[in-house]
Symmetry: C2
Subunit: 147 residues, 2 copies
């Protein structure tokens, strides 16, 4: 599987870019607005420098604010795992954050209904909602308008 | 259930404390060295100031380094979720990070065996390994020696 971090995002997926990070919409939108925040260089979380670390915090603030405005997201889950990188020998970790907006209400958008039946509980990795390129583009546009 | 963030940790649990954060060992040691990194004040992740944010990064580095030395941890999962806080009305989020060291090998310590059968995959929240106060104290001591 191609590394989501190294792959060049297409325009349906790219939400934002800073000097150090890029934000890419996930294909699975079980949590509407789910995306990856990817460090542009290879590296380990503990090796981030001050500039990269503070830039990430600014991006986190902007993303949370944008998702509240775009879809009235209630709260947010952030995870930095990188487990899959250890399926390779040698491992090839590439810092990225998983961002899952969470909702205490359903959202209708682009002709679809997005729900969060696990709200206030741990996210469910089994429940998936794959969306078309057209819907991805609309979600990306809506988030960008609010960034 | 008492908030793990507000509860005063007992000496079997407290690993470290900085100006802004405290590190508390979890009772569930399914991932040996699992702990919580808790902001001392109430607040939202997006509201952390530069000092708190950079202090967290330093603590993250020190903890990862300590767990590599203490138990030869292979890599680490970091999550900031706060879902449970939204089971209360009004919600009472309190910034804390879940820290799970991950292992590509089994570790024998304090007469117990710790394994990570999900290594290189997402952590398993169902598999639990509750340990006694005595074992917690030994784990905390070993981590502190390496901090």
């Amino acid at each position: 599987m191609e590394c989501i971090c190294c792959k060049k995002p297409d325009e349906n997926e790219l939400i934002s870019e800073t000097k150090f990070w890029k934000v890419i919409l996930a294909s699975d939108q079980a949590y509407l607005g789910r995306c990856y925040v990817v460090l542009k260089r290879r590296g380990d979380l503990a090796e981030l420098n001050d500039e990269e670390w503070l830039d990430f915090r600014e991006l986190l603030k902007r993303l949370e604010s944008a998702l509240r405005k775009a879809f009235n997201a209630t709260m947010f889950n952030w995870t930095c795992l990188m487990n899959n990188a250890y399926q390779n020998k040698p491992p090839n970790p590439h810092v990225h954050w998983h961002f899952r907006p969470r909702y205490n209400h359903k959202v209708e958008f682009a002709g679809l209904v997005f729900e969060d039946p696990e709200f206030a509980h741990h996210y469910n990795r089994v429940r998936k909602q794959e969306v078309s390129n057209d819907v991805k583009r609309k979600i990306v546009e809506r988030i960008k308008e609010n960034l």
